[in-house]
Each structure stands twice: as C-alpha cells, then as structure tokens.
Symmetry: C2
Subunit: 368 residues, 2 copies
C-alpha cells in the first residue's frame, strides 16, 4: 500500500478533506446506470442547486477536474466566430480566453493588474462597445486572491443577447455565489477548494438562456466527452448512457455537499471570513504584506508578499512541507517567486489550522 | 452518509473493486504538485508501462474516464483533413469515428457484424487503398464481446506513414495488450474494467511515432484539458502545472496496478480465461447461447442470447439487481433487448462469483 505523508493543505487547493468524505469515496462501487446511482446523481444535483443558489435544471458534476468544467462551458457555449470578451487579471482568466479561442471564438480580453478586480462599469462599457456573444470572468482568481464583483454585469450582457459565464472554482461554498440573483448564465467550480472533496469533478450549472444557445448551435461541439447535450441526457431526461461516470468521486462529492448544507451556507461564509481575518492579523504581525486589492480580496486564498528577511522563498516552502507537512502555495505565472498563496478553504478554514500555520512559520522564518 | 447496496458487478463495468483499492482511494489527499504525488505519478507510469507492455515514455493516466482517453488520442493525433480509417463493429468503434470526425478528420469506416472481429487482411487491403493518416480499432468491443486481433496491422499502417490507435478499455490486464510488439502507436484504457479500480481515469500510452506527429501539428489541439503536450509536461519533463489531477483516484489506480503486477499478467490472463470457461459452460447448460464470434470472443465480457423462456429481459435483470444485488449488462445499441453482457473482469473473475451468478440465475430464470 502507498506510504504517504499527512499534509496540512493550505495552498491553493486541494484543501483538507473531512474524514466522512474520504469514507464516502471508499464506499463499494456500484454501476453508473444503477438506479441507486441515479438517485445519488439526483441528490447531487439538488444539493448543487442549493450551493449555486439556483433553480437551473442543468446542474451537474462534470466528469473531470475544474479545468474540464471550464472547457465544457466554453466548448458548448462558444460557436466559431462568436465574439467573446474575457477578463484576464490572473492565470485562470487567461485560461478561459485560451479555451474560448480553441472553441473558435473571436476573443477580446480586458486586462487588470494581477491581484486587482475589474471595475464593473469598465466591463459594462466594453460590453456596450463590443456587444459580445459571451462574457467570462473569474469570480475568485486562485492565482491572485482577487474577488470579482458580478452583481451588475448580467443586464449589460443580456441587452446585447450575450451570455455571462463565471469561474467560481475557488469561491463556491466559501463566498456567496448567487447564480440566479446575479443572472449568471453558466458557471463552473471544482470539488477540491471550499467544497473540501478531493479533485476529480467539476460542478457546473447553466441557465435556460445558455441552454437555448446550446440547443440552437449551428455547428457540433468540438468535444464528445464534454458535449452537454449528451452529458445532460445522462444526468437527467432520457438517462441515456454516455460515459461511465466517476462513481466513487460522486459518492465523495455527495458527502461533501451534505456537510456544506448541514453547516449552512451563511455560517460557512462567515467562518471563512472570520478565520481569514485571524490569519491576516497574524501574517501582518509577522511582516507579511497583502498583495491583492484590499477592497476586493478573497478570504479563502491569501496572496501575500513575504518579509524582507526571506531570500529563498522556495526553500522555505519546501522546509514547511518537509518539516511541518504544511503545504503553502507559491506564486503562479508572473507572481512566481514574488508571492505566496495561503489557502483557508472549506474544512481547512479553522482556528486550529491557523495556529498550526503560525507555529510552522515561526519555526522557519528568518529572524528580523 | 450515503446508504448504498453492495452490488455484485458483473455487467460491462465497473467491476468489483478490491478492498485495498478502496482503502487507497480514501488515503488523505495531498497536493497535486507535492513531490510525494510526483512519486505516485512516476510509479503509476512505470506500472502502466508494464501492463501495456511498452517502454513508451508518454504513458500516463488521463484525468477523465475511458471516453476522455479516447478523445485525448483523437483530438491530439488527428488534424483537420487527416484521412482516418475506423473499424466499427459495435458502439465503441462508432464513438471513435465520431471523435475523429469532431477532431476534423475525414473519416471512412470499415464495418463488421456486431459481435464479429475484422479479418486483418481485409483491414490491410483497405489501408493500402486509402493510405490513411490514422487507423483505429477496438481491441475488446465492450458492446459485443468481440476480440480484435491486432498483431499484423501496424506494418501496413506504417508503410503509408499513418498511426495505429487501439481502444483497449476492456482488455487491459485481462488479455495480452502488447503495445510495443504489435507496434501500436497510441492506446487508451479505463480503470473500471480488468484493472478493478473505480471509474475516473483513463490510462493512455503513445509511441515516439505518435509523439512526432503531435509535436509537428500544424493546428492547435481543440481541447486544452486534454492537450497532451501540456498534460505530458505535467506528468514528466518540466512538471509544469496544468490541471489539478484527481489525486485520490490516482491513489486508487496505484494500488490497483500494484495488485495486477503482484498477481502477474500471465497468471491474470489465465485466470480470466479459466473463469470465463466455467461461466460459459454453465450458461450453455442453462440454455444461453453465445452471440459473438466463437473464434474471437472475449473472456471478460460474455455476449449471450437468453433462453427462449425469457420474455421480459429487462424485468429479469431488474430482479437480479433488486433481489440478488447482481448487476448484469443489457445489450447496447442495436443489441438492446436482444442480448445480455455478463462481465468477469479483474477482481470479479473468480469462481465464487460465477457460483453466485448461477445461483441468482437459477432463482429467477423461468422454467423451461
């Protein structure tokens, strides 16, 4: 059997997984067409609807990790020649732009400094100028810690007949994600962030407006595996066999969602915020500086510059891992070597975890 | 916690999962960039190379189910306008053709009756006629039980500069899959058949010839998630972050592969054959008839017509499931309602499982 360390997962995800989610993963496998698995799928959909705060019928767990969910949305909702406006203020916005391009979209990007959110008025002005078929932004930029407000965008997108797409990989169940209230047309997430399930599935949800676009496509979707018409028939409707779903991963997600709803979304959001503030205070006391927009920063992903005494940040992170089993994320993309990303996600957003982070930091940080 | 039945999985997959694989699935999650996870990935690659009987460096577990692996190969190896020859003698050959079309290939199919294998000379004649850029066939047609010989195809494919692709989803580790000896350029499998791991990953392997084609593409790969250049860099080489791998699924696959190699491939093949013969004899005694090519049929997937006394085959399968927790597969595609598919895969290919199948059948089959 594999001999593995027990890590304290406080990087950008995966996050710590509760024991009962691991137990659910290890339940005996059943068939992907078993009526009992159909029940599990139905319950997952119902729980995802609650977490996404939506009534969207087309709500399901895509059989791949978060990146697959993003690709599923771009591949199904972008037709060749579609005008796409993508917000790029970090790695994951850039990936959305790349996926839209590969789907055949004519992509224009709007850019912001890494760590900063977009001003919604600026986005709305670009929308009115370009009249895009699709607008996509990242709600919680895992590479920068920026939190993007989304509440005022849909009206502008819709008045030109477009769709509004949201990456909520890192925010879902850690911050309010109000799909219906904000009139988001399509959103995707991951299981390994605030849902605290291992990686392997990507929750997605699509509005009726998005489904109308999908149902009226003029060209086939590039991907067969991620073709939402086929996947959707398996998740509801005809129940036609499409692919063999990752059965045990869905057991794990089912339990993770049950725990989220048992705690309650508002309580969970407040816990993320409270524990974040505790971490932030201690980090500031230790000479760290926050590097993301103070008005729009995430509680579950803390982008910080390390104290001036730190000269070998990678070596220090390696010591935290080797000596304290503590995973802290390095900077990604253009922030590589410049920042750390400290995650407090889902089951990991607890006071005792913050204490362990501080104890490990105090043991390895060079003296001033 | 989910309340689920314990099923005897003897349909077309998923197959019964050994307890230690479920235990491995439930190991505490670690980071997808953790050096310890890199070790797990390396060990998975080495074990997959043994199971595929190949030295191919590009051997890895694609982060999706078997259908994703097939799409990964078609999407990366087919460029728009490529001539593709696809063998269609069941559902899964048809899917390969569809994936090649979506990748932009000019697809010609060669067809055979469902349940029958192709004569290699017939395929070779078509290859010499069409001079295809890519030829793809299904080694073990899960929808029909047909076993496709592959040992003589590569020379013809290669003399015209093409690539030979194999679907070995259902055969891998249950029947010899000799990637190097048969000069297969690319193959994909699934975890939930003879490897006896839950579904969620797709082992793939590519030859240097296939990698040369990939590295010299003129057009970008449609899929970003399945882009083998990016995925390959994560699995080896630069180790650059691409997507968050399904960490715990890989733990499960690691243990499943360890068990396969501990048993030994030849011993495992012989076990599948022996238990198949035991099942076959008992099925024939009970009035079932084999519906696939007697010269080329699979040991791990038995396509049978039920006795004439059976009038409601779906109802009977439902009784087997409800009263005996026994999953038997119905016919797929044009065999729906006409045949059953009885799987004896991996951990499920055991004498005691055959006895349980017989006991359940004897309890529900209508008297003659």
């Amino acid at each position: 059997m594999l001999n593995l360390p027990r890590r304290l997962l406080h990087g950008p995800g995966p996050s710590p997984v509760p024991p009962s989610v691991l137990e659910a993963l290890a339940l005996p496998c059943i068939g992907h067409m078993d009526p009992q698995f159909m029940r599990v799928m139905n319950e997952i959909r119902e729980m995802l609807q609650q977490v996404f705060q939506t009534d969207n019928e087309m709500t399901l767990a895509c059989s791949g990790t978060g990146s697959a969910g993003g690709e599923m949305l771009m591949d199904n909702l972008v037709e060749p020649g579609d005008r796409c406006l993508i917000g790029v203020n970090g790695v994951f916005g850039g990936r959305l732009a790349e996926k839209a391009r590969r789907a055949g979209g004519l992509v224009q990007t709007v850019e912001a400094d890494w760590g900063w959110a977009f001003d919604q008025d600026e986005i709305i002005a670009r929308i009115d100028e370009i009249r895009p078929d699709l607008v996509a932004l990242v709600h919680a930029e895992t590479s920068t810690g920026a939190l993007q407000p989304f509440d005022r965008l849909a009206e502008a997108v819709h008045r030109h007949g477009g769709l509004l797409v949201m990456d909520c990989v890192t925010s879902l169940s850690g911050l309010p994600v109000k799909i219906d209230q904000w009139q988001i047309d399509a959103a995707y997430s991951g299981t390994q962030k605030c849902l605290s399930c291992p990686p392997g599935l990507s929750p997605v949800t699509l509005s009726e407006r998005a489904m109308h676009k999908l149902q009226n496509r003029q060209t086939p979707v590039h991907s067969w595996y991620l073709d939402l018409t086929l996947v959707g028939n398996y998740w509801s409707g005809s129940r036609a066999y499409h692919h063999t779903a990752p059965v045990n991963m869905n057991f794990g997600l089912h339990e993770a969602l049950r725990l989220v709803l048992e705690e309650g979304l508002e309580v969970r959001f407040a816990r993320h915020q409270r524990v974040h503030e505790r971490l932030k205070q201690g980090l500031l006391e230790r000479g760290f500086q926050y590097a993301s927009d103070p008005e729009h920063s995430l509680p579950m992903l803390n982008l910080v510059r390390f104290p001036a005494t730190v000269t070998d940040e990678a070596g220090l992170r390696r010591r935290l891992l080797d000596e304290f089993d503590l995973e802290i994320g390095g900077g990604l993309g253009k922030l590589s070597g410049k920042c750390w990303r400290i995650g407090l996600m889902g089951h990991g957003a607890q006071d005792e975890n913050v204490d362990k982070i501080f104890a490990a930091l105090d043991a390895v940080l060079p003296a001033v």
